[in-house]
């Protein structure tokens, strides 16, 4: 079974036509990979489907806009994968 990171990286690679080997756990989806908000909707759709979750993007965006969180906390891939794992765990709880 692929890791959360591998699944997410494959989704990003296929959705945004980014070479898979350039996508690292420490990559920031926006700052390093240049993914814009519209492409991120496609990625979110694929991640939601792949993991059977609903990533709370509105909440995350609000927290960043309010200065309560940094974009790294949600959009650096290793952190994003941790959030996904938490959502999957919460779903099964």
């Amino acid at each position: 079974m692929p890791s959360t990171f591998d699944t997410v990286a494959n989704i990003i690679s296929e959705t945004c036509d980014i070479p898979r080997d350039t996508i690292k756990p420490e990559s920031h989806a926006i700052n390093d990979l240049g993914i814009d908000s519209l492409d991120f909707l496609d990625i979110a759709f694929a991640i939601d489907k792949a993991f059977g979750i609903k990533m709370p993007l509105e909440q995350w965006t609000q927290e960043v806009n309010d200065g309560k969180a940094t974009t790294e906390q949600y959009f650096q891939l290793n952190n994003l994968c941790t959030r996904i794992d938490e959502l999957v765990a919460a779903k099964g709880a």
């Binding site: 979110a44 759709f45 609903k54 509105e58």
Partner: protein
């Protein structure tokens, strides 16, 4: 259908919140300035307006599913197929199904049939945002009434 006011559907005929589907209908007007240019001597309903009709049908479904708490804005279009010509005066049966309601976005699959024949279809992505202001929301509620949007189903959905 009122092309000049960008009203691309006439009536909501069915809204099923359990199945997350909607059906609407529309009749292409027999005359419009649009047909003078598209095309002279061979009037056709522009494909982009058929796509907008599918988007409006999908949009009312999203508004229903989110209980009028979010306004869907057209964000992306995939796998759009315009399978046959649509002429002035033709009646359209439109339908849409919600594929996914995400946080701040939604994805639908929509199609149009003429006389039972699949005429066009697409997958549409919307950004969902809070209504920008009270005037906008009021205009959407007014349009909902014109389209016979079943407000009562929201309370029971």
């Amino acid at each position: 259908m009122n092309l000049e006011h960008f009203q691309l559907i006439d009536r909501i005929v069915d809204l099923d919140l359990a199945q997350q589907t909607i059906r609407t209908e529309a009749r292409v007007p027999t005359a419009s300035t649009i047909f003078e240019g598209h095309f002279p001597g061979y009037p056709l309903m522009p494909g982009v307006l058929l796509i907008e009709a599918m988007a409006q049908t999908s949009g009312w479904l999203v508004i229903a599913v989110t209980k009028f708490s979010r306004m869907p804005f057209f964000a992306a279009l995939k796998e759009a197929k315009l399978r046959s010509f649509v002429a002035p005066g033709q009646s359209l049966s439109l339908s849409a199904k919600l594929l996914h309601e995400g946080s701040g976005y939604a994805v639908t699959k929509a199609d149009i049939r003429c006389d039972g024949k699949l005429t066009c279809n697409a997958e549409i992505t919307f950004r969902l945002v809070e209504f920008p202001n009270a005037e906008f929301r009021a205009s959407m509620e007014k349009m909902a009434a014109i389209l016979e949007f079943p407000m009562g189903t929201l309370a029971h959905g």
